[in-house]
Every structure is written in C-alpha cells, then in structure tokens.
C-alpha cells in the first residue's frame, strides 16, 4: 500500500530563517509527487509536480526536489505569509484514475 510520511509535523521559523520540509514515500512506481499549500479554511493550492529523481522546481522562496525515496521542500528566507500547512501527495503509476495519496502535512509558522 502506498504511504506518504511528512516531517516535521510542525515547524516554527523566524522570518529569514531558511529550512526544509521532508516527504518520504513508499509507492510501487511513482508517476508523480505533488506539493500543495493549504491555508486555514481553504482548499489546497497546487504548488509543484515532480516526476523523476533529480528533478527540481522553484517558485519564489520555495524549491522542491525529488529523490527515489523522498522529496524536500526548501524554504529560503521565509516570510510570515509563507505560514500554512504544506501537503505532499503521490500518484502511483499503476493506478488508473489519478488517485492521490496525501501525507498528514507540515504546519509551518513563520514569525516576524
């Protein structure tokens, strides 16, 4: 069974203090790994898709990387507006129908 584990569960940073969030996965053939941001009371907002080991994607202060067993979301010089829950999800290449399996998320708080 596909599994996604995110760590840490919660992370508190000072503004400008860079860090990384981890997403480790067990899947029988990865078709894609997805990062989402979720603000309280809202639906998840799509950030990145990674398809193969070694791939990297960037958006503003965020950079996502992928290896064969895990993905990292690096946050460089975060600002308070980066505070949110970050969700990781995987898509199995054996699964027809685009069924995503989500991790529990990392709650990020950035203090000014």
């Amino acid at each position: 069974e596909d599994q996604v584990t995110q760590s840490p569960e919660a992370l508190r940073l000072q503004e400008g203090e860079s860090s990384s969030l981890n997403c480790s996965y067990t899947v029988s053939g990865l078709r894609g790994l997805f990062w989402y941001r979720q603000d309280p009371g809202k639906g998840p907002e799509f950030l990145f898709t990674l398809y193969s080991a070694g791939e990297e994607k960037e958006k503003e202060r965020l950079k996502a990387t992928l290896t064969k067993k895990e993905s990292f979301l690096h946050i460089t010089a975060p600002k308070p507006e980066d505070s949110a829950t970050y969700l990781c999800a995987v898509l199995n290449d054996m699964e027809y129908g685009n069924k995503l399996v989500f991790g529990a998320g990392t709650i990020l708080r950035v203090k000014s």
């Binding site: 989402y36 009371g41 639906g43 799509f46 999800a89 685009n98």
Partner: protein
Amino acid sequence: SAVISQKPSRDICQRGTSLTIQCQVDSQVTMMFWYRQQPGQSLTLIATANQGSEATYESGFVIDKFPISRPNLTFSTLTVSNMSPEDSSIYLCSVTPGHASGEQYFGPGTRLTVT
C-alpha cells in the same frame, strides 16, 4: 488550472438529516474527485466521479452514505446522508484537467458541522 466553486461554504446540520454539496468548475473536465478532511487531519479520497459512469468509491465509503451525481463535465454533487457528528468535516472537490499529469486542483471546501 481550473476555477472551482463549492456550495454551501459551510453549514450546521441536525443529526439524521442529509446535505447536498455542489461543485462547479469553469471548464469541462473528465475527472472529478470528492475528499474529506477531518479536523486536524489530511485529505482522504471518498470517490472519483466521471461523467457518464457510476462513481468509484474508496474503501470505507459507500454509495448509500455518500451518493454522488455527475450530470455533465462541469458539475457534480456529493450528498452526506443520515448525518452523525462523526461526519463533521471539510468536504472538498477537486478536478484534474489532464489525465497524464495527475495534477489536481481543489475547490474552497464545505465545512460541515453536525449537531
């Protein structure tokens, strides 16, 4: 990406009643999905709804409890039937514009409280 709206945004319902949640997309999409997010937890897929076919339910979810309609390529409904306090959750619909990419885009969610 796609713009997705849900109605209602929130509701408070009595035990034993039913609530129908609507999901509207601004473009035609083949696949629509319904998720549940219980307080403090991540997303769990309830079912996949494709236009012109019966919805496919995940383990632990049944059609009698969560009937789904998908009358066209831009609209779907999820009904939460015979509600109990355990059904209090956020219900989210999502769509995937392209089958190959796997990317899903989510609506704003419906926050349901059952008393």
